[in-house]
């Protein structure tokens, strides 16, 4: 017994000794990371988009005498990877992400503020620039904008025949619907696509405060307009104008193949389909989205992809330089030619050459009637419940009002749970 106590005493004595010597890092944080500048930059570019910046990067390397490594990674995934790779030192200096992740990125401190003056800001379209700002600070520069648009198969329907509004498409779809043949197809069971209808009738995701910021407490997804919009959507499903229960995440692949196989006359999709359709050799045309039955335009979400500087960059100044260079008018134009991503540069939108393409015309046109995908962290909580509600509407399992009320309730609960009191 006595021996044990003696041992214990000795051991704990040693413990305290170790603890006392443990007094943390010797030097303060002002130096350290900043001083060890590397002459190498890493940029994470979106999948299959590196081809658009290769030339520009080579130019940049020459001018600044650095090596820049380009790594391709799905752009929606990059922020998640940065969380681990950043602190580990295996992260990028420059990366790209969708605008709606900006809120989280800033809250977690993964993205670095950059110095962008008014003149530089005015190069880009206002909404695109807006997506890069949180509380008045700029965290990146827009790389490309996306909205949804209407693709039509010229073999099935000519430009003149295109119905003007959704009502017209409804009737057209009814006419041509037989066997495996469809008129207009859209992924209205997903928030991203359905929102263009809902908000055209007056629904909205988050209301705005007087200073233009989003108010996560004001959710307009179950107001009168939203329900009216949902009813409009429901008709397409009720009449069997969409393939039985075209629902779920795989939907995008489904309407893609139906369109390429000539089984659908028109689909609503984004610019990411441009290349696949071209490769598949479809003779397609592009137009902006049809009007709604109430005469309003469909209000699609604008998605902004951006170049941002990682907080963990050891060479942030140069990285910032690279961001500015890659988002410049000159490089944006090359990028557009190579990757068909529509740049957010105002001057290019007026450029004859760029405007010649139907896609950029459609996107530019659509952008006027569209809202930015909200970039506050609370937006994370919107997608899933709303998708679920739309799915139950699409499959006829519940009525729009009921389903949307439920969704909003879920969203509010989620926001309270994940963002409450913060």
């Amino acid at each position: 017994m006595k021996r044990k106590r003696l041992l214990l005493g000795l051991v704990s004595g040693l413990m305290t000794g170790v603890l006392l010597t443990g007094c943390g890092p010797q030097e303060s944080g002002s130096d350290g990371s900043e001083s060890e500048k590397s002459d190498k930059l890493v940029i994470w570019e979106d999948k299959e988009k590196a081809i658009g910046i290769e030339e520009a990067v080579a130019e940049f390397e020459k001018e600044h005498d650095v090596t820049v490594e380009i790594v391709e990674k799905n752009y929606a995934q990059q922020l998640e990877d940065l969380r681990l790779d950043g602190p580990a030192g295996s992260g990028p200096d420059v990366f790209t992400m969708p605008g709606d992740q900006m809120g989280s990125a800033v809250a977690e401190g993964l993205v670095k503020e950059i110095a962008v003056d008014e003149t530089l800001q005015s190069v880009y379209t206002e909404s695109a620039m807006q997506s890069q700002m949180v509380e008045g600070k700029v965290y990146g520069l827009p790389k490309a904008v996306e909205t949804t648009m209407l693709y039509y198969n010229k073999a099935l329907i000519s430009e003149e025949e295109l119905p003007e509004d959704l009502e017209g498409w409804f009737n057209y779809s009814k006419e041509v619907r037989q066997g495996e043949q469809y008129g207009l197809l859209a992924l209205f069971d997903q928030t991203y696509y359905a929102n263009s209808v809902l908000s055209g009738y007056g629904g909205y995701v988050f209301g705005k405060n007087s200073d233009g910021t989003f108010n996560p407490e004001d959710i307009g997804l179950n107001n009168e307009g939203a329900v009216e919009g949902a009813n409009e959507i429901k008709r397409f499903y009720d009449e069997g104008l969409f393939p039985s229960g075209l629902v779920g995440e795989q939907g995008i692949n489904v309407i893609e193949s139906l369109f390429t196989e000539g089984k659908a006359a028109a689909i609503i999709s984004g610019p990411w389909n441009l290349e696949p359709f071209e490769t598949a050799g479809v003779d397609y045309g592009i137009a902006s989205l049809p009007k709604l039955s109430n005469g309003e335009n469909m209000r699609a979400f604008i998605g902004v992809k951006s170049y941002n500087v990682s907080t963990f960059s050891k060479n942030a100044e140069l990285a910032e330089e690279l961001v500015k260079y890659l988002s410049s008018e000159e490089v944006s134009k090359i990028r557009y030619e190579k990757t068909k991503e529509v740049p957010a540069v105002k001057a290019l939108a007026e450029d004859q050459e760029v405007m010649e393409s139907d896609a950029s015309k459609a996107i530019a046109e659509q952008s006027q009637f569209s809202d930015l995908t909200p970039g506050i962290p609370e937006m994370n909580e919107v997608w899933k419940p709303t998708d679920a509600a739309l799915q139950t509407i699409a499959t006829g399992k519940s009525e729009p009002q009921e389903a949307l009320d439920q969704a909003v309730k879920s969203i509010k609960g989620q926001i309270e749970a994940n963002h409450g009191g913060k």
Binding site: P87, L110, T395
Partner: protein, 418 residues
């Protein structure tokens, strides 16, 4: 003063106790180990211990989470060091006792042999336990530590430092309505899932083994091979294939099979109840071959004369099954059956790969088919609710461990006297 006390006191500096006993080589060994320990781990111990207490003081220099992990590693290293230290003290003391009792001390060679003999089991299992310490214990310590911090989306490095907050996360699980209701929903489904899916696969496996092993059945080998196939194909592959087959709109189950039978398409992925049903069926498919294999082995080992005797007594096929086959099977494979339950309780892959825990359901932050593990995974990886996920992990562990402990008590494997 007795030798044992002197030696013990001197051993505060490792090796000196041994020097006192004139065991120079051993003493030197202890001393060297101690010195190299401090040289090798000086930085780790310094930073780690400071980090685990403060979780960092300055942004962006300090990353709380990294500091916490380093601190835990430092604690493990200290733990290992203390074991050596303890051995040092014990050795000096014991040798001292021998001297006090006027016994002759071991020679070097004797000592070496003694260590080899007494320490043999430790020697051969030591490396494995070292590995376990880092692969199993360290992550668990980390989870436990995280549960007592405020680590979430709004308190995460590099923007913010993480702080120790005590039990407040646990409190949140029971006081915030949506967390509480989600927790109990998920818990309920996890229990149902574990029981139903495990029972199904076990029952199916036993049933098919009995059917396929009847004496009269021909092509036994062929049937056996086919029935074992689901076990031979990697599970993650099969689950992803099933996810495709069950696709509401374009999966073969709806379009080919049910359509051929004249049944309307079933919302496998969008209706929670159908999703659950599909999952249980799939787990039956995936899990029965294992039981089938084992049961087949048991069946082949049941002595034939048991049945013959029963036949003479006029027992029917069914009563032979009930009174001979079934008890034999249950007796021999019950430990395996238990592992099936624990496996399904933590069966993350099938839930996540099939439908990512979906579909979404109202009044819940988890999906309709989420079990506790997949919910924890989603909280960590998707909602950045790290502390909450860790707190749930702890609560979950308490449940699992107590059930398992109760089971182990009943099973005999760890009783002595084997």
């Amino acid at each position: 003063m007795q030798h044992r006390k002197v030696a013990l006191l001197l051993s505060i500096v490792p090796g000196f106790g041994q020097f006192y006993h004139r065991q120079w080589l051993k003493g030197l060994l202890f001393l060297l180990i101690t010195i190299s320990f401090f040289i090798a781990f000086k930085d780790l111990l310094n930073m780690g211990l400071w980090g685990i207490v403060t979780l960092g003081t300055e942004i962006p220099r300090d990353n709380s989470i990294f500091l916490l992990a380093e601190g835990l590693i430092a604690l493990i290293v200290i733990f290992l060091g203390l074991i050596v230290y303890y051995l040092n003290l014990r050795d000096a003391y014991k040798t001292g006792v021998m001297r006090d009792n006027k016994q002759t001390l071991y020679t070097l060679r004797q000592q070496y042999e003694h260590v080899l003999l007494k320490g043999y089991p430790y020697l051969i299992s030591g490396p494995a336990f070292l590995l376990l310490l880092f692969a199993v214990v360290f992550p668990i310590l980390f989870s436990f530590a995280i549960a007592f911090t405020n680590y979430d989306l709004y308190n995460s490095p590099p923007a913010k430092l993480v702080e120790w907050v005590g039990f407040s996360t646990f409190k949140e699980i029971f006081t915030v309505d949506i967390w509480r209701s989600t927790f109990f929903d998920v818990l309920a489904w996890t229990i149902v899932w574990t029981i139903v899916a495990s029972t199904l696969q076990v029952a199916l496996g036993i049933f098919l083994a009995v059917v396929a092993n009847q004496k009269e059945i021909r092509f036994k080998k062929l049937f056996r091979t086919i029935l074992v196939l689901p076990w031979a194909v990697p599970g993650f592959v099969t689950i992803l294939i099933f996810a495709g087959l069950f696709n509401d709109s374009f999966g073969a189950v709806n379009n080919d099979i049910l359509a051929a039978l004249g049944i309307d398409a079933i919302p496998w992925l969008t209706d929670p109840n159908w999703s659950r049903f599909a999952l249980i069926m799939m787990q039956g498919w995936l899990g029965f071959p294992y039981i089938f294999l084992v049961t087949t082995g048991v069946l082949q080992s049941i002595p034939e004369d048991l049945y013959e005797a029963a036949t003479i007594d006029g027992a029917s096929v069914f009563s032979k099954f009930r009174h001979i086959t079934m008890p034999m099977i249950l007796l021999s494979i019950s430990p395996i059956i238990i592992t099936q339950f624990t496996f399904n309780f933590n069966n993350f892959n099938i839930i996540y790969l099939f439908n990512a825990g979906g579909p979404a359901v109202p009044d819940s932050t988890a999906g309709g088919t989420d079990i506790l593990v997949s919910w924890i995974y989603k909280l960590t990886m998707q909602s950045s609710q790290y502390a909450l996920a860790a707190a749930l992990t702890i609560m979950l562990s308490v449940v699992v461990v107590s059930i398992a402990l109760w089971q182990f008590r009943k099973s005999s494997t760890f009783k002595e006297g084997a």
